[in-house]
Symmetry: C2
Subunit: 637 residues, 2 copies
């Protein structure tokens, strides 16, 4: 049983407010299709690559130096240890999927490094140990000590669940004991500038049942909104979610990743306590996000400046920040909201975010990463303070790559849940689900195809309800049970099939996914007069590589003409390409100027066949321009 990224059971005992419970950690196995392929690349390429990068960037040396086993100076930023922990968490989930001697050996080597770096009092933090000895806990705002501790806890729980080995968990618990000794009422009354410890402590509470971890998490959450964390020369209270107490927050604001890690912790606290004020603030914040601050891809955090949420409707395409970690944090949060409410909208957003904002963060070969995920690019490989169109092997601030790794390794956690009535399927993929009442096999080529066959392989005799999410993008879904049409209406976002099930029963769900054009709220400046193409859960984009005879910036689409989809197995590891009718506008009259009196005649343009590829697959060929939002050419003046 697990909450996905950040392990830990969500069951009745420690999470009484969860309307849905998680399945056992190994209950779901992804068997084929896009997600399974991304998982395989993650295991085969990304994890070994990540370990090399951790060695090159100094993360491992920092731990060696901290342990006194090696001389040297600290390298990198204060939070370097957290990247090691996130890699370990990814390795743990991979080990849970399928044990591997090599992975075990590598992980154990890292665990030994961490063990050696732990001080006699339990402290681990290579930055303060090596670079600023004696300065522990003096700069909570920027120091990331509790943030790193949180990732250690999550990695440790994952590793124990994967292997039964509790060495890392013992290390983490010793560190947490020190945190208990240092922080709390009457002791240090403050918290970390970057939320993470809260959700980790509640995981530890769920894992151990020790109430003091929940209490300390609640204490940390209650430190916010008192002006203790944010203010200094450069930063603002809002940037650190320190403007108002967590129960009073009306909006998502400030540093996007921090805001959503914090919301994740608050959601964990709600699951554990059922405090309705927490669910209220979380719902307000989540709605603020999806109603005014969300990219079509699910990406969040519009601004490069302070890596923060923008104002409502401030969603530039080329200047989008949309940090990969922000998208991952959004999934962490929405997953807990789904458990709290069983509302399909949270699973809808997880799907959108996973297939677009997150998958775009890593190259198809698993060895290059985007930190920034713009929705348009002018084709320059790298920009200062603007997303480029070329992923990098690693980053100076390398939070994103190992975060992608741990999410991909734990994707199976997000597929299904259980409750007293039965089983809920939230995400579709070819998979085997060993639920508490039944074992199911899901056959599908999703998201290439919307036809999904669910076979009951084993089941209890009592009737139970199979709930199938009807994605928000789908119109005209239909279902059959053993070949007979079932009522596919789903007022609350789930098709519920309540019946006695028998071995061999088959549910056929058909989610038609014709390519479609979508439009954006007219208050968004960057998407005015444009449409984007979607198909199923995938957002599409136009890339320069598919339009050799025109600049992407000159392309327009005939949004009323039919879109055609075709599977291209050789392209970009296999993608469904969407073709559209459009034009290339002749912008040569604009040469040398930016503004002119409105033209009386329409600009010359020539018909062009547009070829759109899934956004997640962009920037895997030669560097070039890209655009998600395409100007509508049909009725332009």
């Amino acid at each position: 049983m697990t909450t996905g990224v950040g392990a830990g059971p969500v069951d009745a005992e420690q999470s009484p407010a969860a309307l849905l419970k998680t399945l056992d950690a190994g209950a779901v196995t992804l068997e084929s299709g896009l997600l399974a392929e991304r998982q395989a690349v993650n295991r085969r390429s990304a994890l070994p690559h990540g370990l090399r990068m951790l060695e090159e960037a100094g993360n491992l040396d920092n731990l060696r130096i901290a342990s006194g086993h090696q001389p040297g100076r600290f390298r990198g930023r204060v939070f370097m240890d957290s990247d090691v922990y996130k890699w370990l968490e990814a390795a743990a989930w991979e080990t849970a999927r399928a044990p591997s001697a090599e992975l075990a050996q590598r992980s154990e080597r890292l665990i030994e490094l961490v063990a050696a770096a732990q001080g006699d009092d339990g402290y681990i933090g290579s930055y303060y140990t090596v670079a600023e000895p004696g300065r522990r806990w003096t700069d909570l705002t920027h120091g990331h000590e509790l943030y790193c501790a949180g990732h250690l806890v999550q990695a440790a729980i994952a590793w124990r669940r994967a292997t039964g080995d509790d060495r890392l968990l013992a290390i983490a618990r010793r560190f947490v004991d020190l945190v208990h000794a240092e922080f709390g009422p009457g002791r240090r009354e403050t918290t970390d500038g970057h939320a993470e410890i809260e959700t980790a402590l509640i995981e530890l509470y769920r894992d151990t049942g020790e109430r003091r971890h929940l209490d300390l998490a609640a204490f940390f959450l209650d430190q916010r909104g008192r002006g203790r964390i944010g203010p200094n020369r450069h930063d603002s209270l809002a940037a650190f979610q320190d403007r108002v107490p967590v129960r009073e927050a009306m909006t998502v604001e400030g540093h996007a990743v921090r805001a959503l890690y914090l919301a994740t912790g608050v959601a964990d606290l709600y699951l554990a306590t059922g405090d309705p004020a927490l669910l209220e603030t979380l719902t307000r914040q989540w709605e603020d996000m999806v109603e005014s601050k969300l990219y079509l891809t699910g990406g969040v955090g519009a601004r490069h400046l302070a890596e923060s949420f923008g104002q409502p409707y401030e969603l530039p395409n080329d200047l989008a920040y949309s940090e990969t970690c922000g998208a991952i944090a959004s999934i962490m949060w929405s997953w807990r909201m789904l458990l709290a409410t069983k509302q399909s909208r949270f699973a809808d957003l997880i799907e959108r975010t996973l297939y677009n904002a997150v998958l775009a963060g890593v190259s198809l070969d698993g060895e290059r990463y985007f930190y920034v995920n713009p929705l348009a690019s002018n084709g320059e490989p790298e920009h200062l303070h603007r997303g480029g169109c070329r992923r990098k092997p690693w980053h100076l601030v390398a939070c994103c790559p190992p975060n992608v790794m741990r999410l991909l390794a734990s994707l199976a956690h997000y597929v299904a849940t259980r409750d007293a009535s039965g089983l809920q399927i939230h995400q579709y993929a070819a998979a085997r689900i060993a639920g508490p009442r039944a074992t199911l096999r899901i056959g599908t080529a999703f998201p290439r195809d919307g036809r999904i066959r669910i076979e009951i392989e084993e089941t209890t005799d009592e009737p139970w309800t199979l709930a199938l999410r009807m994605p928000d993008w789908c119109a005209g879904a239909s279902a059959r049970v053993n070949g007979r049409e079932a009522d596919a209406s789903a007022a609350d976002g789930y098709l519920r099939l309540a019946r006695p099930w028998a071995r061999g029963d088959v549910v056929d769900l058909d989610l038609p996914m014709p390519a479609r054009c979508v439009e954006a709220h007219p208050w968004i400046e960057s998407t005015r007069g444009c449409v984007a193409i979607e198909r199923g859960p995938l957002v599409y984009c136009l890339e320069q590589a598919d339009h050799p005879d025109a600049r992407v910036a000159d392309l327009e689409i005939d949004a009323e003409a039919p879109l055609t989809s075709s599977w291209e197995p050789e392209l970009l590891d296999g993608v469904t390409v969407v073709r559209a009718r459009g034009w290339a506008v002749d912008t040569s009259a604009w040469r040398g100027r930016l503004y002119r009196p409105i033209a009386t005649a329409a600009a010359a343009r020539r018909p062009v066949a547009l070829t759109a590829i899934p956004y997640y697959a962009w920037a895997n060929r030669e560097p070039g321009a890209m655009g998600v939002w395409i100007p509508r050419g049909k009725d332009r003046p």
Copy 2:
């Protein structure tokens, strides 16, 4: 004779490469109309307000503490002294316009403060003297010591020209002597992170004829592009214009104000030396700016992040930075380009920038200032990292207010020039011009009205050429001389009237200025599907105050319907309002979501009369939304 902001003669002797020469400092008097009114408010309100602010913010105390006359700690940022100098420069130009005992007394008090703060060796810099004694010249990248010195030189020259009093100039020259002793080949070989000293030294060269000042300016300019200034933890080479040597620059890049102060210095060096490589790089950079990085208002520097130029076509409206100082720097640079080339395009840009980006930087009452000048606002008074819709009395970094003051006080400098053939008029305003060959009186209500009458009050007997700029926004100009139609064709941007002139001759120039709709390059994301309204040199905007029954964000314009203009003497100190036909779109169907499948039916909308006001006059009523670019509603799908 003066180059405008930053005093100093541009004549044949020290500026052989100038195709146009400046007039004497007092040659032009603005008599009425918008610019004269802005000048009057500047004198009456802004200057006294500015002095109060300099007292409140600590700028004057810093000088008192530096002189040892007062105990205390340094307040504010390292460049606080420069604000005092810019205020003094403004006061000098005002004194030149019309002496005032009060102004003289206030200025002399400041000059005494500066004199007292000067060290025995000539150094002045209250930050290093008070806050970091012994650390002079140790952080050229951020220390602004030479930047402050440059503003001191400019103020001193202005004051000497205005009053004949050379006390401040003597102070400045002693400081410059110290700079000579410290910097140069074989001494400190570096320069200031913020350009300014270069243009100031060349002013001093023009003023004194001392070649060593020109040489030192050239030395400082040549320090760039060697990686000596820019690199440190946070900043990049491009941000400091330190990526390539000045002669190799192809684009404007980095911090916009620094980039254009630097270009101003390079242009001064060109005027003094005629080095064609300098004019080449300046022309390339200027064209890069106007062809890809310029707001419709003339504002420059799109990004809040690093206050920098964006990539080509990166010109967001609501997120525009468009710092007031950037617009002023653009005028300083274009003025020198005009002198260097006599090409009207530079005067065109000065006009656009002055009437829009600069005038919007200050409230109509002269006592509130914008640092950031967005082209759209959602109506929130203040934003973090985004322009608000309410000006502030002063800023923590208060470069803009006194920069506006010195520009407004010296506006007359930009009106006309001379060359061997005669007189050129670049900017239109009711004015008296005492040129070398003739005295002219210009009667006009410009920019309210495009009819301009020029009367020859005195003239030499030999024929000479009166050149009148034909603004780039004007179609269908006509001219009459003594009532008889003249050929108003102007291939090179100037109508040239070459003839023997006599006292009483009258030229009537008619520059029709119907309100017009303009459109922007289709590669600019933020203006797609929109038009803006212009009339004469003025850019217009829609403000919430004029549309009580609709949100500005919901307004659309019928760009093909006629626009009507009407003078409203009581509104906003007198403005010509432009009315248009439009609609308010019903966006209620969007409540709660950002994206949807494209609608098959057009959204409901109701006709609304649009009322546009000049952009410079926005944010002078209750805080509210504003937009320059208006979606075209006519043919939307």
